[in-house]
């Protein structure tokens, strides 16, 4: 097997069309599926699948964009950290331009703050080793997919006793947000397409409790066009037959029990905590914080953040409603008018996985 064999056949046009036909048969009544994951939203729109989906099927973008759900206050706090003379803030690139109450990391950098873009948490640790005169702070955003990598990095920093490395933890957990959306009852969801790479860590098993509690179909789904269509078929078939529970479409990557080694590392370094989500507010037990044993790496404890600015979203920005699945991006008056990728007003237009950015770039879905 070549690495290309894990990509190209999953984009096969004829197989895609055959699955679209199966989907048309499977959707027997109006059906609303939420794709929780921003990577799904982008993959779906980029592959042009909207035109292949029957009208009675609505796909609703959910809160699964880590940059988008990072609270404005956390971003404003990060800008404050970056402005300390002895600090280098390291972050994934999408965070730079997210506006938070008139601030952004990019604006701080333009005024001289030291902000570096990294593609891996290990790169931020390398920067700490190379710059012993500075405190290097990594903005740890991301879901269960990313938290194990950060846990492994913090552990390495602990083993090596790297004393100038700090982590500003803003990790979020997906199943509690899925539960919160169902609990609120604000948005009608007949079934979930569950995020494939989050599930690689937490396992398909992780959705079983909420599938039972809310009697909702959950289908763990991959990211290629045939994956997405097959996941939608399975979810639609479950909806049609009144079945609930968990199915796993992405079996080549996701095991029922997930990656136990990765979860053990996360448990060793982090503990579950309440977390504030943009748009969804504070959700109990939906985030992570460093355990006391690793407190010396905790940027939230190392700096006095008592005068960190409270930041609000730009006036008129409806990012929060987009993240809750209440509106599709084009329903926001700012979308495409004053809010564009060049001059984003909200996080959902900044992140490459934000629903607004994806709709702007690839065109929206009618009827969503």
């Amino acid at each position: 097997m070549r690495v290309e064999d894990l990509v190209e056949p999953f984009r096969d046009r004829k197989a895609t069309l055959a699955l679209a036909e199966r989907l048309a048969v499977a959707v027997t009544r109006p059906t609303r599926l939420m794709e929780v994951c921003g990577t799904h939203t982008v993959a779906f729109l980029r592959a042009g699948l909207a035109s292949l989906v029957p009208e009675r099927l609505s796909l609703i973008a959910g809160p699964g964009c880590p940059v988008c759900v990072t609270s404005a206050s956390d971003i404003a706090t990060a800008t404050l950290l970056a402005e300390q003379p002895e600090v280098i803030v390291t972050t994934f690139g999408d965070m730079l331009r997210v506006p938070a109450g008139g601030r952004s990391l990019e604006a701080s950098r333009a005024q001289g703050a030291k902000v570096r873009v990294v593609t891996s948490p290990m790169e931020s640790l390398d920067l700490a080793r190379a710059n012993p005169g500075y405190k290097v702070v990594f903005l740890a955003i991301g879901f269960e997919t990313t938290a194990p990598s950060v846990a492994a990095t913090v552990k390495e920093a602990a083993v090596e006793d790297v004393r100038n490395y700090l982590v500003f933890v803003a990790h979020k957990l997906i199943p509690p947000a899925m539960e919160a959306l169902l609990e609120s009852g604000e948005v009608a969801i007949d079934g979930y397409l569950c995020p494939g790479h989050v599930s690689a860590i937490i396992g398909a098993q992780a959705y079983q409790p909420l599938a039972e509690k809310f009697r909702v179909p959950c289908v763990v789904t991959g990211f290629e066009p045939t994956d997405l269509l097959e996941g939608m078929c399975e979810a639609a078939e479950m909806v049609a037959s009144g079945e609930h529970g968990v199915r796993n479409q992405y079996r080549r990557v996701v095991r029922w029990e997930g990656n136990e080694r990765a979860r053990a590392l996360v448990d060793e370094v982090f503990q579950v905590a309440d977390a504030e989500w943009r748009g969804l507010g504070v959700i109990p037990r939906s985030g992570l914080m460093l355990r006391n044993e690793f407190a010396r790496f905790d940027a939230r404890r190392a700096f006095d953040l008592s005068d960190a600015p409270q930041a609000a979203d730009a006036p008129g920005c409806r990012c929060g409603e987009v993240l809750r699945g209440l509106i599709a991006p084009p329903q926001c008056a700012l979308f495409g008018s004053i809010c564009t990728p060049e001059s984003p007003q909200g996080a959902c237009m900044v992140s490459s996985e934000g629903a607004c950015r994806a709709y702007y770039r690839y065109g929206g879905m009618e009827g969503a």
Partner: protein, 71 residues
């Protein structure tokens, strides 16, 4: 952010590995999948392999897709 790319493991040295994506090669951490061996495939996210690809499952899906594509 939750983007994961399949890569082929070429060489393992402790918790680090060299993976290839077609003609491109990078060095990643395999601390989360320490059992991985050269020749196996992993999903790479943020510089870490987060999962090993199950080749039997992949081949089974490929067989089904092949049938769909041929029909």
């Amino acid at each position: 952010m939750c983007l994961g790319v399949p890569g082929r493991v070429e060489k393992v040295e402790g918790t680090w590995a060299e993976v290839s994506y077609g003609s491109v090669r990078t060095r990643i951490s395999v601390a989360l999948v320490p059992e991985v061996q050269p020749g196996e495939f992993v999903i790479v996210h943020a510089g870490f392999a987060i999962a090993k690809v199950n080749q039997e499952e992949a081949e089974e899906t490929l067989r089904i897709l092949g049938e769909l594509g041929a029909s």
